[in-house]
Amino acid sequence: MLAHAIFFYFFSILAIFSALMVITSRSTVNSVFFLILDFISVGCLFIMVGAEFLGMILLIVYVGAVAVLFLFVVMMLNVAQQKQSWFVGQKSTHIPSGLIVSVLILLELLVVVGGWKYKENIMSSSNLVIDTSITNTHSIGSVMYTDYILYFQLSGVILLLSMVGAIILTYRKRENVKTQSYLKQISRDKASAVMLKDVEFNKGVKIDD
């Protein structure tokens, strides 16, 4: 168990350290990199407790897709310019509203954590039988697609809705943009593309009329 303990403390200290660095580091891009490190160490913790499916999914979804898009957005923002307008320039309107929201969240957290009671002997009192003969991918699937199929499908639909909403909000039809239509290109025939003309001397031809 010694090696197990060493790895557990290594990953958990790494996770806490990088979570702290996310909110304290000066550059936004560094924050995102620490966020990725945090995701990876939490994924490793998942794998250590035997939930290898959850760990891998965390890596694929959060690190492989979500964090890439975060990074993408943060790199495109001109962060230096924004800092100037927030802290140096005229009085910002963001700070009061931000303060209200964060104080509210802090109060909520205090209420929740203050009223928290740990159930005694949670491991022995739980009457859940863990079947070790099947992999946890199978067991997650056999629960998620039977008992919780409605919630699973509903969350999928909500995600789809938000995706469609985001596209509708940002989509605008631009004019005068050249687009390539494969159907048009392929369905052109010789008659519409090539024309034979007798060119009159010293007059030339007029095309596109």
Partner: protein
């Protein structure tokens, strides 16, 4: 003492996995250039060693002795980390590739997910390199590659779902053993083609090498890199290509299984079949590099999102309905 023994044992295994991979990456670079040369009626590298086999080693030696230049305005830490991450991720993924039923470093339950996760992390090396260089062309290359790799990952994921529907397990050995009677390249041939093209895009190979399109972006995300750091990007890229070939041969070509379980074939040891299949897929990669012109960026995106994604989704539905109708769904081991 016991831990030390286990540790030494593991390190010994890892070293004997990593060194052959590095050597085969060097050989594969040579093969790539030879095939490229032959297609264009040139000789390719043929001077250093027999048939020019040591060309890559000579190149590596040259890179080692070159000066590493770090631009003054670059973000130093991330700039140095980027090639290291590319190289490490490319090597780490080989831990789960089975070369035979027993010859595998770690036979984990979610092997295919692990491979998918590692290949989706590959984009970080490129983004970090491009951003940390703090110059225009690398940044443009990094942005392009981020969009490109994320797009094609989606279709690779759905193709993997197709195969998993037929197998009923995420373990790579189970995937290979499920193809004992019929390689999946036959019933899932369209998916094999889509996988191959997506693998080209995922590894930034021509015709999808837009992140380093030399006609537009100098050398893309590698522009500011020099010496050994450039070489690490380059080796990582080829290790990734080999990995994609291995993934293709496990998913579709029956991994380490012989094509037919009869006399002349089943005498050849399993690892050789795996290597033959990887080499065959790599040969296709090399030929494609030589004969296909580069895509335009909007064409690339159109192919990924409007052609491959719907097509592979429809194929998932088809495969599932077929398996359900003929009652062929894998009942699993539980």
């Amino acid at each position: 003492m016991e831990y030390l023994n286990i540790l030494i044992n593991e390190i010994y295994k890892i070293i004997f996995l990593v060194i052959p991979i590095l050597v085969s990456v060097a050989m594969i670079v040579w093969l790539d250039r030879r095939v490229w040369g032959l297609v264009q009626k040139r000789r390719g590298p043929n001077v250093v060693g027999p048939f020019g086999l040591f060309q890559t080693l000579a190149d590596a030696l040259k890179y080692i002795f070159k000066e590493i230049i770090i631009p003054a305005s670059a973000n130093k830490t991330i700039f140095i980390l980027a090639p290291i991450i590319t190289m490490t991720l490319a090597l780490v993924a080989w831990a789960v590739i089975p070369l035979s039923e027993t010859l595998v470093l770690s036979n984990i339950n979610v092997g295919i997910l692990y491979l998918f996760a590692i290949s989706s992390l590959g984009v970080y090396g490129i983004i970090m390199g491009g951003w940390a260089s703090n110059s225009k062309y690398p940044f443009l290359g990094a942005i392009r590659s981020a969009a490109q790799m994320v797009s094609y990952e989606v279709s690779i994921g759905i193709i993997i779902i197709n195969v998993l529907l037929c197998v009923g397990s995420l373990n790579l050995n189970d995937i290979v053993l499920a193809q004992k009677n019929l390689w999946y390249v036959i019933p899932l041939f369209p998916m094999f083609v889509v996988f191959f093209i997506s693998a080209l895009a995922e590894t930034n190979r021509p015709p999808f090498d837009l992140p380093e399109a030399e006609a537009e972006l100098v050398a893309g995300y590698q522009t500011e890199y020099s010496g050994m750091m450039y070489a690490m990007f380059w080796l990582g890229e080829y290790a990734n290509i080999l990995l994609m070939c291995a993934m293709g041969s496990i998913l579709f070509l029956g991994g380490w299984l012989p094509p037919l379980d009869i006399y002349p074939f089943n005498v050849v040891p399993a690892p050789f079949w795996m290597i033959f299949k990887i080499l065959f897929l790599f040969f296709l990669f090399a030929i494609i590099k030589a004969i296909v012109p580069r895509y335009r960026y909007d064409q690339l995106m159109r192919l990924g999102w409007k052609v491959f994604l719907p097509f592979s989704l429809i194929y998932v539905v088809l495969t599932a309905s077929f398996l359900l109708y003929f009652d062929k769904l894998p009942k699993g081991s539980f």
